[in-house]
């Protein structure tokens, strides 16, 4: 179910050269903002929520999820080098599960650490805000990785569709149509954060906790299952 070599290759593809820079721009920016906020305004719970929720969870986590999730498999399918992996005596299930594991690990590393750090810098985890958002980022990392890994096996435009989901569906439609918020990984993970954070903070979600947990699990499992299914029937075509 887990293969060292596949994992090593995927880590290298994800963290090698320019991708690692792209991945660390956002966390770096979050920490810079956190330092600036603390230096200018001192500890303030509402601003902490604004930064961690508005920048961290709404922008940073999905974008890193897109880069890591699609980057774990899409480039290999795109340039056809996946055949070298497929021709090895490895179940394709193992390939997907290993890549999913790596994508989750990378997304979590690049999201939870900076969120926790930024939260600590801004208000020293008062009212459990930093902890709550860190948990939300961790849970969202798992779901995003599964969804975007699936996208990578389904479409050649995986990055675009991933960004359409995270930018247009979650951000634009989520702010206009409240119904769209029920179907958003961000809101599901926020409902866990709501539980952790102290009462009366601005950490709220539109989705009830049991629903959110069930939906998160369902999306992760179904996404992974279908990604395995897609890879088992994959034919490598050279066009475009």
């Amino acid at each position: 179910m887990y293969n060292e070599t596949v994992a090593r290759l995927t880590y290298r593809a994800l963290l090698g050269r320019r991708r690692a820079i792209l991945l660390s721009i956002l966390p770096g920016l979050l920490i810079l903002i956190a330092i600036a906020v603390r230096a200018i305004g001192g500890a303030d719970d509402r601003v902490t929520e604004e930064v961690l929720g508005g920048f961290g969870l709404a922008a940073m986590v999905p974008l890193i999820g897109v880069i890591a999730g699609t980057g774990a498999i899409a480039p290999e399918i795109d340039d056809g080098s996946i055949v070298y992996l497929l021709s090895k005596p490895l179940p394709r299930r193992t390939i997907i599960l290993t890549k999913l594991w790596v994508a989750i690990a990378v997304t979590m590393l690049f999201t939870t650490v900076p969120v926790l750090l930024a939260g600590m810098i801004m208000n020293g985890n008062s009212q459990q805000i930093a902890g709550a958002y860190t948990l939300a980022a961790a849970v969202a990392s798992i779901a995003y990785s599964a969804v975007f890994l699936l996208l990578g096996t389904v479409s050649r435009n995986a990055v675009v569709f991933g960004l359409i989901y995270s930018l247009i569906w979650e951000t634009l439609f989520g702010s206009i149509v409240s119904g769209a918020r029920t179907l958003s990984v961000q809101q599901w993970s926020l409902s866990l954060a709501e539980r952790v954070a102290a009462d009366g903070t601005g950490v709220t979600s539109d989705v009830a906790l049991p629903t959110a947990v069930i939906l998160l699990a369902a999306v992760t499992v179904a996404g992974t299952w279908y990604a395995i299914r897609r890879l088992t029937v994959l034919t490598v075509a050279a066009d475009d």
């Binding site: 721009i25 604004e50 940073m60 480039p75 995986a158 675009v160």
Partner: protein, 297 residues
């Protein structure tokens, strides 16, 4: 190998090759062709059907609010549109950015990936011509993409008799704001896309560069609001493309900003925004020219 001796009856046969004697259209025509080809490519024209899905799908999403706005205004009988013309493109910013992220790598990354650059430069065009043609095409595509919905709502507004003078000034101001946005966004997107031959990477990079500053600026502006230093909100607006355009349209084109607490920028901040946009566009073009200095690439 022995060299065959020249004999008296040796001759080169005329096998019918012909010289080109038609009109030579020159660099200007090559530039124009490159512009038209790129402009069409941005909308997927002249490409397979599945390349047309995303640009036209995004355009439909972009134009939909304009149609709805007009329908609402004409049934309720108000003479105010829901979204100001000057803020229309900004309020649909994610769509605009996605369109650019599809179009910019299409224009430049593919030329790098398939190594067609030497072919371009074997025509009578220079790298300045190439950069200007691509830049003009992307600006044009973006202007059409954002300007046509405005035109739809303007024409619809006139048909719904919303007041000719109001609508026309609003529409013209909206076009100017759209033009500023197009030039700035196209410059940044083209520069970012020109650095990678891989389309997927280009798409992600364009979106990241265009949206992340906005995500970073807004919480800082919100922080300034809690600190009661509202003058600083406008200055922070200088640090992201969206808030730059927002500041300009609010300062000079009679719009209102989407800044926290609805703070309006001062004239000084407006001028600074204009200068920043001009500087950024000039910088992008200069860097693009530098990028294509090496012919081999």
């Amino acid at each position: 190998m022995t060299i065959p001796r020249q004999t008296a009856d040796a001759r080169i046969h005329d096998i019918g090759y012909r010289r080109y004697e038609g009109a030579r259209l020159g660099a200007r025509y090559a530039r124009y062709s490159l512009f038209v080809h790129s402009l069409r490519g941005a909308f997927g024209l002249g490409r397979p059907a599945r390349s047309k899905v995303l640009p036209w799908g995004l355009f439909a999403v972009m134009a939909l609010p304009a149609v709805i706005m007009v329908a609402v205004a004409s049934t309720t009988g108000t003479d105010e549109l829901l979204i100001d013309h000057t803020r229309y493109a900004l309020s649909m910013e994610p769509i605009v950015v996605l369109f650019l992220a599809m179009a910019a790598p299409q224009l430049v990354s593919l030329d790098l990936r398939y190594k067609t650059m030497p072919l371009y430069f074997s025509r009578p065009i220079t790298r300045a011509d190439y950069v200007t043609a691509k830049f003009a095409a992307l600006v044009g595509a973006l202007f059409l993409f954002t300007g046509l919905p405005l035109t739809i709502s303007y024409v619809g507004g006139l048909l719904a008799e919303l007041g000719f003078a109001d609508q026309t000034t609003g529409y013209l101001q909206g076009l100017v704001a759209t033009a500023v946005l197009s030039v700035l966004y196209a410059g940044i997107a083209l520069l970012v896309a020109s650095f990678t031959p891989r389309r997927g990477f280009g798409v992600a990079a364009v979106i990241a560069v265009l949206t992340i500053p906005g995500f970073a600026v807004y919480p800082l502006q919100a922080l300034m609001e809690t600190q009661d230093s509202e003058g600083a909100i406008g200055w922070f607006g200088l640090f992201s493309p969206a808030s730059l355009v927002d500041g300009i349209q609010a300062a000079f084109l009679g719009g209102t900003t989407g800044f926290p607490a609805g703070v309006q920028p001062t004239t000084l901040q407006g001028i600074a925004s204009l200068l920043a946009v001009a500087g950024l566009v000039a910088l992008c073009l200069a860097l693009l020219l530098r990028r294509y200095r090496k012919a081999g690439i």
